[in-house]
Point group: C2
């Protein structure tokens, strides 16, 4: 497994983006395929990213008073069936347990595709009065949705996620919480994954099955396609009525609670790869990287000083950063390539020649720039470079999102811009039929109705579809999407 050989495995993204993505995820210690079609094994590097996402989100959740719980995997058919729109939306994708050993069960059990109905059952048992509200729970769990076509991280039959579920006494508070969580996600993606997003509301056709409204964050991948990266749903009383989640309000009258649910998934790992990756593989943003700095001993076996300095640096940097030490006897080219392909933001190469001048070489994964740094300055320099890499990754992605988002008022222009794989903002009537037509004719879907009017078209009069009689409701972002 040499430098050359590894790099040969990755198709350049300019040649074939889809192939580039598949090549990248198969390398870099990211995934292996499981024994059933569309199943995925998270290898140490991708699971390590997920653990970092969990750690940082948990800390944010804690500051908001969100409590973690764990709900059962299996949902009885009768419980699932109470909310009709919800089960209709998920039914074709439900993996169904019918037997244990050789015995048939008296009722079918579904593997959770999401846990609204389980939380509904818990809320029903736990809530008595407005004093118990708001009740704000989250769980980290695996869920299954039997997708027809699969793509690692982006669309797999089993994925990992967090799903938050809340009950409120007041619809205004619940609506506010729905928006608070989508903004929390947008900030998290910006601050930790270096991914800019457009925050908006889904059109009726794209909203979550059972929700009153769905908010989303939409990110732009390097090929110009959109990736829905997190959602937050206002459920109103859509679940609390059929599931009878009642509470006594301050006037001692009975009411049904108002609910929200919200989640991000291991899809974020795909978002990160397709936002920052290059033809050498994944680039992990420093604040979320399981390893921030690789320390590589070059010719470790030939020079005692190399090994001594490396160990000292490992301990010293380890107090402040997440550091890994490669003191194996593999050749320098292999070590550098191995660090690159795993997407570690910085590597420090410690070799006998540099050490004669008390220097080491620091290499950035994003720009591949190398610099010789005095040993005494390494710690400070690492801190500065990691911040710089984060900012550089974020600004590059933001620049792309800005440059490739265009406003149109004409349907022919719309088609041309979609063909160029841009995000297109257009006035739109938001009807299901118009959305279906656009999808058929262009391959694009309505990504969201942006919260902020960032991309206001000049002419606000009519829907983008020429013959449309519905009138313009909103400015909507369209794009081809994963």
């Amino acid at each position: 497994m040499t430098n050359k050989k590894e790099l040969d495995k990755i198709t350049p993204m300019e040649v074939d983006f889809a192939k580039w993505y598949t090549d990248v995820v198969k390398n870099g210690n990211l995934i292996a395929y499981g024994p059933t079609k569309g199943s995925l094994i998270f290898k140490p590097n991708s699971y390590g990213i997920w653990e970092m996402i969990q750690k940082e989100l948990n800390s944010i959740f804690k500051s908001k008073g969100i409590q973690n719980v764990y709900m059962p995997l299996l949902i009885p058919e009768s419980l699932f069936a109470l909310e009709k729109e919800h089960i209709a939306g998920f039914n074709p994708e439900l993996a169904t347990v019918t037997h244990v050993g050789n015995k048939e069960l008296s009722e079918k059990l579904y593997i959770r595709p999401t846990s609204e109905v389980l939380f509904a059952d818990l809320f029903k048992k736990s809530i008595n009065s407005y004093n118990d509200l708001p009740m704000i729970y989250n769980q980290w769990a695996n869920v299954l949705r039997w997708e027809k076509t699969t793509n690692p991280f982006l669309r797999s039959r089993e994925f990992l996620w967090q799903e938050g579920h809340t009950s409120h006494s007041d619809p205004t508070e619940a609506r506010r919480f729905t928006r608070e969580m989508i903004n929390t996600y947008a900030k998290f993606l910006k601050n930790f994954l270096a991914i800019p997003t457009i925050v908006g509301r889904k059109t009726p056709r794209e909203k979550f099955a059972g929700a009153c409204s769905t908010y989303t964050i939409e990110a732009m991948m390097k090929d110009g396609k959109a990736l829905q990266s997190g959602t937050s749903h206002y459920l109103a009383q859509n679940f609390s009525k059929p599931y009878e989640i009642k509470f006594k309000n301050k006037e001692n009258k009975e009411d049904f609670v108002y609910q929200t649910s919200w989640g991000v998934t291991t899809r974020l790992i795909g978002a990160l790869i397709m936002t920052h990756g290059d033809n050498r593989g994944i680039i992990i943003p420093p604040r979320i990287a399981p390893t921030q700095v690789d320390i590589l001993e070059l010719f470790a076996n030939k020079d005692e000083k190399v090994s001594k300095v490396a160990k000292k640096l490992f301990i010293d940097l380890g107090r402040k950063f997440r550091v890994n030490l490669d003191s194996s006897e593999k050749n320098p080219g292999f070590k550098a390539s191995n660090s690159e392909i795993q997407g570690v933001p910085l590597r420090i190469e410690i070799g006998p020649r540099d050490l004669q001048e008390n220097k080491v070489t620091i290499v950035r994964r994003d720009t591949l720039e190398k610099e010789l740094v005095d040993l005494k300055d390494v710690k400070d320099r690492v801190g500065i470079l990691l911040e710089d890499i984060h900012n550089n990754l974020y600004e590059s992605a933001k620049e792309r999102l800005k440059n490739r988002t265009v406003s149109v008022n004409d349907y022919d222009d719309f088609k041309k811009e979609i063909e160029k794989s841009n995000f297109v903002v257009a006035p739109f009537c938001c009807s299901d039929e118009a959305e279906e037509r656009i999808k058929e004719e262009t391959g694009a879907t309505a990504r969201c109705i942006p919260i902020k009017d960032l991309f206001k078209p000049e002419n606000q009069e009519s829907c983008i579809i020429p013959e449309c009689k519905n009138g313009t409701k909103r400015y909507v972002v369209f794009a081809k999407a994963y």
Copy 2:
């Protein structure tokens, strides 16, 4: 929900230990029952303990070079069936997915009861030569085993665990690793859960289906029953042969890898409750407690100083300990009771009267002792008391284990001691038939063959069963068990 009312809910353990346990787990923010029989909801307090267990074990695992991965939930029947003893052991408990939506699948899929065969598949794909070995993976996951009788935490159909899986080039190294992991668990239970255990090997009848040998740690609950609290299996080549996990050794010859697997589960939460709990509920050992110190403002609304001091203490203690602040307007009795029932090791009561002398009251959950402490000494005192609580819990449990473990050479004595719910050490032939007979006649099972000869009986000549012709093989610990 007042003090009195909550306490009334818990049956004293002297009256009915099983009822006491059920009452405790239903209180203290620990569990709720899910919608299918035997399914469990982990509420914030129990899930918080599990998160702490994860955190501490992950840190230990990392220091040993163990890498976390995540494997798929579903196992195809054909893959599972390759190791005959393994599937025979698990088959009656396997939840089986046969349909997706209304469509029948071409092959049955089992929800993992454990992931040996999934890891076998991954190892087969990942290992080429001795250079790739040892390969040491762990995963945190949910698993399902359709148990006939269930008991919260101790035996539930779905539980959470970590399962480690390793491949080695050398049987000696693999055997050593098996023992290293069981000793790691014993140390973890001692140092973090304050639970002493007996480390030993399982008899052939009790070993894991598919293992060559199984090591176990056995803890003694307050009712004298044993709880198997962690296991480590030497799998030899039992999986690598049917699953064809081959590698080229140093002589460039092909061999099959030697494997181990090892795990602890959410059962540890049950162990902790039944080792340390009292008639007021759970007592969480300080090093694993999600909240180590509850700060309670008494008469918060009536005295500004109380609230000011409480907030300052919350920030100050928060730098070193896991602290929670209750500044609600609930009455003092409720607050104290709430802290007690949730098992928080220490609570600090801040009231106007004590504050006049610049003092606060610290209450230990284990002994319920109260002491008045000068504000300036609180931080030091909290540190000392938390250590003291850990030691006190551990020493009490150790004393019980010592006092209630007896050696016998006579089968009538054996029966009497088992009847008294003691651990009984006896010379034993280790045959399946003898074990079945003991179980039928006394209700006890062979817990383990201790690694250390702590309980050597005087007469080492014959098996404890009078008519047994097999001769004595080992000194074995017997007990009634969960």
